[in-house]
């Protein structure tokens, strides 16, 4: 019995290891930089992780089915430029613009999902194609130029706060809660895990595997649309080059959070903690005036560490 309890404790520690690492890192940073543990800075961190956090949530859901979405960065740019364009050219209310951006993301996701699910094409390749298509369409729409002078109400989404909490953070929280409910409480979530764990078994169990596979990419596209709104509002312009290599940060947060890229295993809160970890590392190293060259090395080592912990957990 005692043995069993100890075994369980160990597992428990491994499961929540990531949280301990984040807390530990926070403690260390607050000792070496007096500017780290301040309200302003912590609010900065949670605001800064919003875009990557939201993209990573979409990415996690895709990865749970064993897929991957390389097009998120480009979809962010495309949704963002459309939103900026609508704000410039029309007088539609903000909500319409937001919904339009999300719809653009969803349509791009539908493209990914359709070809992955119904043509059995490799996700890597399909999303790679979407990556360049979305980027190209962004350039076409914007003529390669940034679209700026956006309405101030819109910019509030990027820099405003409600009850002291930045709006981007609140949006991230809502997306996270919805995502968690979807994955843990809805049958859709069980189907996602089942498809990623064993596609054949899922099919034999009467699950519409193709539809699930398509849906996860649509969800990822929707996440891109939401992230695009925040990004555009934060930099106060629609940028054709926005979001470049964001897919890699989203994958990094997903993997650090313990989601298996081969599918079937992972959890959303891990992804969020992963995004927080990356955010704190970025912020802390900026505060400590560490050169960005080293920052990238640190980031790489963290990803490696996460993988090593994960593979140990599995053995």
């Amino acid at each position: 019995m005692g043995e069993k309890a100890r075994g369980f404790d160990k597992k428990w520690i491994q499961t929540y290891m990531l949280i301990f690492i984040v807390i530990g890192l926070g403690v260390i940073l607050s000792f070496i930089s007096s500017n780290f543990l301040t309200v302003t800075n912590l609010l900065n961190v949670v605001r800064q992780i919003a875009v990557n956090g939201i993209l990573a949530i979409g990415m996690t859901i895709v990865c749970l089915t064993g897929g991957i979405d390389l097009s998120v960065g480009s979809i962010v740019a495309f949704s963002g430029i459309i939103a900026a364009g609508l704000l410039r050219d029309t007088s539609y209310p903000i909500i319409v613009v937001v919904l339009a951006a999300i719809a653009v993301g969803a349509v791009c996701g539908l493209y990914n999902g359709y070809f992955v699910a119904y043509w059995n094409a490799a996700p890597f390749v399909v999303t790679l194609s979407m990556m360049t298509i979305a980027r190209g369409m962004t350039y076409v729409y914007s003529d390669g130029r940034p679209i700026s002078n956006l309405r101030t109400e819109f910019l509030t989404i990027g820099k405003g706060s409600i009850a002291g909490i930045p709006i981007p953070t609140l949006i991230l929280a809502v997306v996270f809660i919805l995502g968690s409910i979807m994955l843990t409480k809805l049958k859709f979530g069980r189907y996602v895990y089942a498809v990623g764990g064993n596609e054949n078994a899922a099919m034999v169990s009467g699950i519409n595997v193709k539809r699930i596979k398509m849906m996860v990419y649509v969800l990822s596209g929707i996440a891109c649309g939401i992230a695009a709104i925040i990004l555009t509002a934060r930099v106060s312009a629609g940028l054709p080059q926005a979001g470049e290599s964001y897919e890699l940060d989203a994958i990094a947060a997903t993997v650090i959070g313990g989601t298996s890229l081969s599918g079937g295993r992972g959890r959303l809160w891990g992804t969020i903690v992963g995004a927080i970890l990356l955010g704190i590392v970025n912020n802390g190293l900026d505060l400590l005036n560490v050169s960005s060259f080293y920052q990238q090395i640190v980031k790489g080592l963290i990803i490696l560490g996460a993988i090593l912990i994960d593979s140990k957990r599995n053995n």
Binding site: Y16, S142, G144, A237, L239, N282, D286, F293
Partner: protein, 333 residues
């Protein structure tokens, strides 16, 4: 399992709020006085902390940063240097982080002229002055700026190219990445001059080669294929692309008939000028630019500069006559 997770989160939230509570308490009560105190103290010591975020560590920016560091040392200031890695959002994040660090002034080489606008507001709110360097900021408000006049650079290279071909003929333009302010402004300069020669000088083609030698090489190869001997001048918006163009022209054996001009005067570019392959290039003195940016930041903090305005650095036209000066000083082995 669920319960455990929930309690974990609660504990975390509590711990976090406690920690935050502590710092807020002490901070909010003493924030005002602390800040003024700090400032006063620093003034006595003479040293300021200058926060800086640059778009990307290109060769040019590296030289500029060297100049900044040199000047900061001279003035007894600390320099916090961050690299936004060509990501506009990341740059906003870095400005936030610099404000959180309570630097005295922030110097920004913007990833994007539009996307940096929110930073001006943030700095205003935080009561920290901001100085733009190298990249203009797309705002109607006045702001401190030290940098190149890219419109002028664009005009210079186009004017010299047209003069060389005798005021009439056909030109092509190699552009930087579409949407970058250097590309937009240099193109504006190019076009300003072209307009004056309407009817006499024809623009055969304009395309981006993304500042890249390789891309320019294949692009110009294609143009030679398309236009044959019709091209009289290649106006490249930077040296790298000009060098690619020269390679393509040499390979096709038509280099003697085509004029190439550029902007930047990097070492390879200067060598090409010396060898007579590149007619000329506009020199942007990176180190000087960095030094002047830091000097301006210092002057703003000292109160000697109060008016917000754009300061352009000199941009000399480099040809065979003056290229040796550069090669023996800045680019000396």
């Amino acid at each position: 399992m669920k319960k455990r997770l929930l309690s974990m989160i609660l504990v975390l939230a509590m711990a976090a709020s406690m920690l935050m509570g502590c710092t807020t308490g002490t901070e909010s009560s003493s924030e005002g006085s602390e800040k003024t105190e700090e400032k006063a103290e620093k003034k006595d010591g003479g040293g300021y902390t200058i926060g800086c975020t640059v778009y990307y560590m290109t060769e040019f920016i590296t030289l500029m940063v060297d100049g900044m560091e040199k000047k900061a040392k001279e003035l007894g200031c600390d320099l916090v240097m961050l690299d936004a890695q060509n990501d506009a959002q990341n740059q906003i994040t870095q400005v936030e982080n610099l404000i959180a660090q309570k630097v005295d002034i922030i110097v920004v080489a913007a990833v994007d002229s539009d996307a940096i606008v929110p930073a001006i507001e943030m700095c205003e709110e935080a009561n920290i002055p901001l100085v733009g360097v190298n990249m203009l900021i797309n705002t109607d408000q006045p702001y401190h700026y030290v940098g190149p006049d890219d419109v002028l650079a664009g005009e210079l290279e186009m004017q010299h190219a047209i003069d060389e071909i005798g005021g009439k003929g056909n030109v092509v333009i190699l552009e930087g990445p579409i949407g970058q302010s250097a590309q937009i402004q240099r193109l504006e300069g190019n076009m300003n001059v072209l307009k004056k020669y309407e009817g006499k000088v024809e623009l055969l083609a304009q395309q981006t080669a993304n500042w890249s030698r390789e891309e320019a090489l294949s692009l110009v190869e294609n143009w030679i294929e398309t236009f044959g001997g019709k091209i009289n001048a290649v106006v490249a918006q930077n040296d790298e692309m000009a060098l690619g163009a020269i390679q393509a022209l040499e390979a096709a054996g038509v280099k003697d008939k085509v004029v190439v001009t550029a902007v930047d005067a990097i070492k390879d570019g200067c060598n090409a000028v010396k060898e007579g392959k590149l007619l000329g290039t506009v020199y942007q003195d990176a180190a000087l630019e960095g030094q002047e940016a830091v000097q301006k930041a210092y002057d703003v903090l000292e109160g000697t500069v109060t008016e917000k305005k754009l300061d352009y650095i000199d941009m000399p036209w480099i040809t065979t006559e003056n290229v040796d000066d550069l090669l023996t000083t800045i680019y000396a082995e």
